[in-house]
């Protein structure tokens, strides 16, 4: 790692002051992405602002139909939290299906949203990469791209967003809370990440000096009937080739009243499929016409490259499977 200075503020205000005074500094939370990338020479901040001793940023609260997760809450603690498990089981699954027990104990929820791509060209500084070194080109478009994105890509970048938690957060209409030089603001999770376009190095709407302070999502029939399905090369400790965050509120006759869907693994950012509510309302998950339309809408505009065309049919199957599982779980809880 390149040498850096290290500061531990006790308060959020002091952390924000430091971030504004030292624009090249980076916040350090769990360090599972940042320290790794610093060791690889992909990022080299001259200063780390360790935010772990700021109080009050790691609380998890469920009240009044809303779940609020502090940005410093650790993945393992959020996944195990009683309210998360019972009222948003898909969110707990999205955390438990990610990384390993050790990494989940370290990684913060805020940091998890900011997880960087696993694209090999981004992580190896000997290759061109527009995300790591803007203007240097993309090694992946005509290179090793089996793991990379088919949705939301650009001529500059086909990196995929690798996280799991953000996919479920987007499906369940979550919100990300930010604090920074211009004060506090709330951003819908669905618009927090940016598409690469011609600036793939800018991945989110975070402004310079801003930090994530909390994450929230509404609790209700949808969150209680949510599921995260992750398709991957290994059954554990592996990134998604495709993942599906699905939620459905079922009527007693088994038809869907309301539904949500977002995809991960195959897109440049967490990929909401906003047509899900309309296409599935009044239908059953085994309705081939409705499900076919939803699958078409989900992968509409997909642009496969040499190695990743398999993700399109994989996503279609995973969507059908996720809603079928939700229907079974719903029937089980009624019975």
């Amino acid at each position: 790692m390149q040498p850096f200075s290290y500061v531990e503020p006790r308060s959020r205000a002091e952390a924000l002051r430091l971030a504004q005074a030292y624009p090249e500094a980076r916040f350090l939370a769990g360090g599972t992405t940042l320290v790794d990338l610093m060791k690889s020479g992909v990022v080299h901040p001259p200063m780390l602002i360790d935010v772990n001793r700021i109080g009050g940023l790691d609380e998890i609260e469920a009240a009044e139909g809303s779940l609020r997760l502090g940005a410093l809450a650790r993945m393992s603690d959020a996944a195990s939290h009683e309210a998360v498990r019972t009222q948003a089981p898909g969110l707990s699954e999205s955390l438990l299906f990610a990384a390993s027990g050790q990494l989940r104990n370290m990684a913060s929820l805020g940091g998890n949203l900011l997880q960087r791509t696993r694209c090999l060209y981004f992580r190896d500084r000997h290759f061109p990469c527009n995300k790591r070194a803007p203007g240097s080109g993309c090694g992946a478009i005509d290179g090793e791209n089996r793991a990379l994105a088919v949705l939301g890509t650009s001529a500059a970048c086909i990196a995929n967003y690798p996280g799991d938690f953000a996919i479920m957060l987007v499906a369940l209409d979550g919100t990300v809370y930010l604090d920074g030089p211009a004060g506090e603001r709330a951003v819908p999770a669905a618009t927090f990440h940016r598409l690469p376009a011609d600036t793939p190095h800018i991945e989110t709407v975070l402004a310079p000096g801003e930090m994530i302070t909390a994450i929230s999502l509404p609790l209700g029939a949808l969150s209680r009937q949510s599921r995260y399905l992750k398709v991957r090369d290994r059954s554990s400790y592996e990134y998604a080739s495709v993942s599906v965050a699905a939620a459905a509120d079922f009527a007693p006759d088994g038809t869907i009243r309301d539904a949500r869907l977002a995809l991960g693994g195959l897109a440049a950012k967490p990929w909401p499929v906003t047509e899900a509510a309309l296409l599935l309302a009044g239908r059953r998950p085994d309705d081939p016409v409705a499900m076919g339309r939803l699958m078409d809408a989900a992968v509409d505009g997909a642009r496969p490259r040499s190695g990743n065309a398999y993700k399109v049919p994989q996503a279609r199957s995973a969507i059908r499977r996720a809603f079928a599982t939700l229907a079974r779980r719903s029937a089980r809880s009624v019975a």
């Binding site: 200075s5 290290y6 610093m38 027990g101």
Partner: protein, 194 residues
């Protein structure tokens, strides 16, 4: 330079400066000189001389460097030594009793031949010790049915152990015997069993 402020808990302003820290490792407070970029793994191995904790990938992918901080398993290769200074760190050297009696998990690994080259073993054992504590605390895993509540280490069947131990790679593939060792300790030390 960063001006000293009352709401700054700690700072190392000179990137090239070594600072002296007090780390609590296996119950003993040890003074150690580190730079801001020194990982806990390097501090343990190179500065304190506790070489039981292994450096495998050094990128958080293999689990060989697993230690406990305040009872939670973490990767020491991705933890800065500076950040670890308030915690109680336990390494493989701290598991056996002072008289040398092995921890039940160490004994089970030896009895089940749960290793070949042994390089991943300290990390496997530290992780396994934490897995039992996580099950005791009712923590679920990806292998847990969402409708089921984990009540203790009795719930650690083979599937659960494989999932919970997936962050510890063994290139010799001693997984069968590792699972058997963890399972035996989970069953033998289950407090709910007579």
């Amino acid at each position: 330079m960063v001006a000293p402020r009352p709401d700054t808990a700690f700072a190392v302003h000179d990137p090239l400066a070594a600072v002296t820290l007090r780390l609590t490792v296996n119950g003993a407070v040890t003074e150690v000189s580190v730079e801001p970029w020194t990982t806990l793994l390097d501090a343990l191995r190179e500065r304190i001389g506790l070489t039981g904790t292994k450096k495998g990938c050094d990128h958080g992918a293999c689990g060989a460097c697993t230690v406990l901080i305040d009872g939670r398993r973490v990767l020491s290769c991705l933890t800065l030594a500076l950040s670890a200074r308030d915690g109680a760190i336990t390494t493989i050297e701290g598991l056996a009793a002072p008289d040398g009696t092995l921890h039940p998990m160490q004994r089970a690994f030896a009895e089940h031949d749960a290793l070949q080259c042994g390089y991943c073993t300290p990390g496997q054992i530290m992780s396994a010790v934490a897995v039992l504590a996580e099950a005791d605390a009712g923590r679920p895993s990806a292998a847990t049915d969402p409708a089921h509540r984990v009540t203790g280490r009795a719930d650690l069947d083979e599937r659960e152990i494989r999932e919970r131990m997936s962050g510890n790679l063994c290139r010799c593939a001693a997984y069968q015997n590792i699972v058997a060792a963890v399972r035996e300790v989970a069953e033998a030390t289950d407090p709910s069993r007579p």
